[in-house]
Symmetry: C2
Subunit: 112 residues, 2 copies
Amino acid sequence: MGKDLIHENLAKQVKNKMLSDDLLFDIAEVFKIFGDSTRIKIIYALKLSELCVSDLAFITNTSDSAISHQLRILKQAKLVKSRKEGKVVYYSLKDEHVIKLFEIGREHAYEL
Amino acid sequence: MGKDLIHENLAKQVKNKMLSDDLLFDIAEVFKIFGDSTRIKIIYALKLSELCVSDLAFITNTSDSAISHQLRILKQAKLVKSRKEGKVVYYSLKDEHVIKLFEIGREHAYEL
DNA sequence: TAAATATATGAACAATTATTCAGATAAGAG
DNA sequence: CTCTTATCTGAATAATTGTTCATATATTTA
């Protein structure tokens, strides 16, 4: 006896309306970037001001190296951008989208 | 020689304006829940309809057990709610907040 | 050119986590 | 009561990931 679906029609309809696995994967990837304390701290700090690596390390009580690693991830995810001035690299948020996403997560966190 | 801050005043000002570590941690936790393919699929499916465990397993091509584990996480995070009817447990999204968060993540994913 | 500084990087390690598997509950059907 | 079905659960495994440490690169300054 094969396994029967409890709500066959409904389940098949929903399955047909699902977004592509690729897109759902990408959406999860975006959230994954926000889902780390250090990166969230960096994002919030950059929401307040453009900052360099050592500023961010000081602000978040983390090592320069850890910050640098996380900034690379944030940059690859196109959430932050950077500009170099001499030895110093200044980072800032890429666009308003990032702030919007942060704020909605913040609202939800308040509700818990 | 102690390590000097490159932008002492700015960095200290930003540090003073930072949200509490606890709140930033909670915000990251919310995003972490969304940051998994299986959970994102569940959330999107539940956006389309109230569904039971085996429906979700069929729709997402995952085992009942894996779905059940993830639903527990989603419920603890207050992103989904459930009601029981006989042997079957029906799950649905907790509120519009969840949809809003999903949609903004989706917008960002499109831009990549 | 040599020393100092800001940032970046690769490897190793520890911690977290998603899935699987076996089995436990709970509820309806025969 | 027994069998089947839907869901849940705990332990084990495998994979991912964040930090640290040592070192490399790049730029300024002495």
